[in-house]
Symmetry: C2
Amino acid sequence: MRLIVEKFGGTSVGTVERINAVADHLADKHQRQESLVVVVSAMSGETNRLVNLARQITSNPAPRENDVLLSTGEQVTIALLSMALHERGVKARSYTGPQVSIRTDDTYSKARIREIELSKIRADISAGYIVVVAGFQGVDDGGNITTLGRGGSDTTAVALAAALNADECRIYTDVDGIYTTDPRVVPVVRRLDQITYDEMLELSSMGAKVLQLRSVEMARKHHVPLRVLSSFKLGDGTIISGTEKESHMESPLVSGIAFQRKEAKLSLLGIPSSPNALKVVFAAIAEANINLDIIIQNLGAHGATDLSFTVAAEDYRLCLEVVYSVGKKLGVERIEGESDLAKISVIGVGMRSHTGIAQLLLETLVDQGVTTKMISTSEIKISVVVHESEMDRAVLALHTAFHLDDEDEVNSSNVLQIA
Amino acid sequence: MRLIVEKFGGTSVGTVERINAVADHLADKHQRQESLVVVVSAMSGETNRLVNLARQITSNPAPRENDVLLSTGEQVTIALLSMALHERGVKARSYTGPQVSIRTDDTYSKARIREIELSKIRADISAGYIVVVAGFQGVDDGGNITTLGRGGSDTTAVALAAALNADECRIYTDVDGIYTTDPRVVPVVRRLDQITYDEMLELSSMGAKVLQLRSVEMARKHHVPLRVLSSFKLGDGTIISGTEKESHMESPLVSGIAFQRKEAKLSLLGIPSSPNALKVVFAAIAEANINLDIIIQNLGAHGATDLSFTVAAEDYRLCLEVVYSVGKKLGVERIEGESDLAKISVIGVGMRSHTGIAQLLLETLVDQGVTTKMISTSEIKISVVVHESEMDRAVLALHTAFHLDDEDEVNSSNVLQIA
């Protein structure tokens, strides 16, 4: 008998009607002899309601108590969904994170799962129950309630699937899969049937909202096949796994194009040769709590170094100040900065065994009259930085150049998965 | 250092403002070196909200899941109150029922407490924390969440006070103590400074809403001094304990007068002598799920028995049918019934050592032209059944006759405690 872990997010269980719809779906699968462990989030709006209650009391809620508060959201959903299953004559039993001993470390609000006690779940599955587990929460060694932070319910689902050695972990959401890019920019995007963990990680790190990095990383580590699909319409969604399907004899060069607006670039040119110079620069930026994204360094023939990097636009002014100050001390020749930029990443495991990707990318951009401000490559990704005003044009052209366009006009209601 | 358990009900923590007020109160006591364990209910309205969610899904919620659902209400309150205490610089730590191992049996929705694990609470108290515990909930041996049923938070508070051997258990509510009777009937009621467990039990069994029978019984069993006081205004409330205070050299004959409207009386007259006759009658009534209140039986000289009893008015018609049917089989001479009745009980431990109470009671009623339909006595209580239309007059006269009237006009906002 196949064992499947299914996870339903906040909008999928956002109303009593939606919970009933999920119960219908599960009852149907249960009748078809699938063993099911279900992970649910808080009903959409519920977490905000709780956060607002806390905010009325304090602007700085004690982290331990905040987790006690927020974890009630999922507890309400597991109870309601289990009731709905009972109402359909299906045996079901709910568990909070602490009740099934989802053991975490003690970092409130972003705890990490250490281990899961499976005896109750296994016994219930054997006895024909659907097991309904509250996502997003666990318990530390001291018996304190913890929450897992953003995307925590996805992480709960993948962790359970890994621990139970489930056949598949399905993440039901409000989009019906992973797309080649954002349909708001490219009208002919295509839903991908399959994608690798690595590609998904690259997409996620570029702001794909469907899955959090953490849950994809965990699925990859434990070889859990992960499927993203819609809880509102039928379809097989996109399966994320370690290997490309055998059926794809010729795997595509590129699986998708991700992008990020509101980027800025800073350059320190002619940093005098000194073993400590770069260390001093990075330390000053870290101290200002600024995250760097792409970093390019180049040692010139005369011994001085050029350093360029990108930051989020909102950090641009502050970063410029930091860099001027540290640059002056180090005797840097020149400092340059530019905002209103965007980053485009072309992603695909097929790149590993193919050459000419960078060339096709650059040719396409040149043909469009788009200037590349920076280029950075990794094994399965090429990123370029361009002016924000040229981004849409560039993404459109690249989507066509890498054969990602759909033959059929895409349904524009299949909204985006990439921010 | 004194250890006090304080319990705040739903209206006392019904809004963020009320929670802040409770936190102010606790912070003040904490500063004055009182060790505090606080038990809270769900914010008023919250339990109804949850019940309504469940009702939209099923008319018959699975009991285990219903307890999972309802227990979130108190969990929200403990988190918010602990945050409010932190905001005031007071160390506080919240615990759900399962977290402090309030072990119960496995009767969902009306579980009974078996034992409480005190190590965490004791350690926190020693470390200067205010311990905030969710009322109304516990955990069974299988790790399932249970709830304690009506008045469950009072029971949690008394159980904690008993287990911790606390100096006092204070129940904060929306009335400022226990009164001699209902101010809606008698305008000059007096708040009692003290009352015994037994008297409180008699009052509670007559429908006093301030405390549930169960928590008073538990306090009595474990000798926990129980104080009822208002969370909205200052005052010492009423202390409920085992003995009358020494200061009361001459304890009052009567502490209070309770009453219940909507009663009915049924009589089976001339039940032929048979060892099984009464058993058959009571069995038939029990099978119809009707509760009897006062029961009077009298064996006549000719060997036949007369039996009278009272039931709630809503059960009157059904009970009459049952009694006719069983009476016919048994060959009962006559069956009589009367509704629109009321029960009045005069309660006081002083009765034990005094005579003439019944006489004073009857004289007073006769003077008022009130006909007594039934009389029943116990060690600390005399109950009479009268026509409902005569009840108010009777209670007023008895309140004066037993010297319960207050010298000062009572503040009519000190609402009733008796239904």
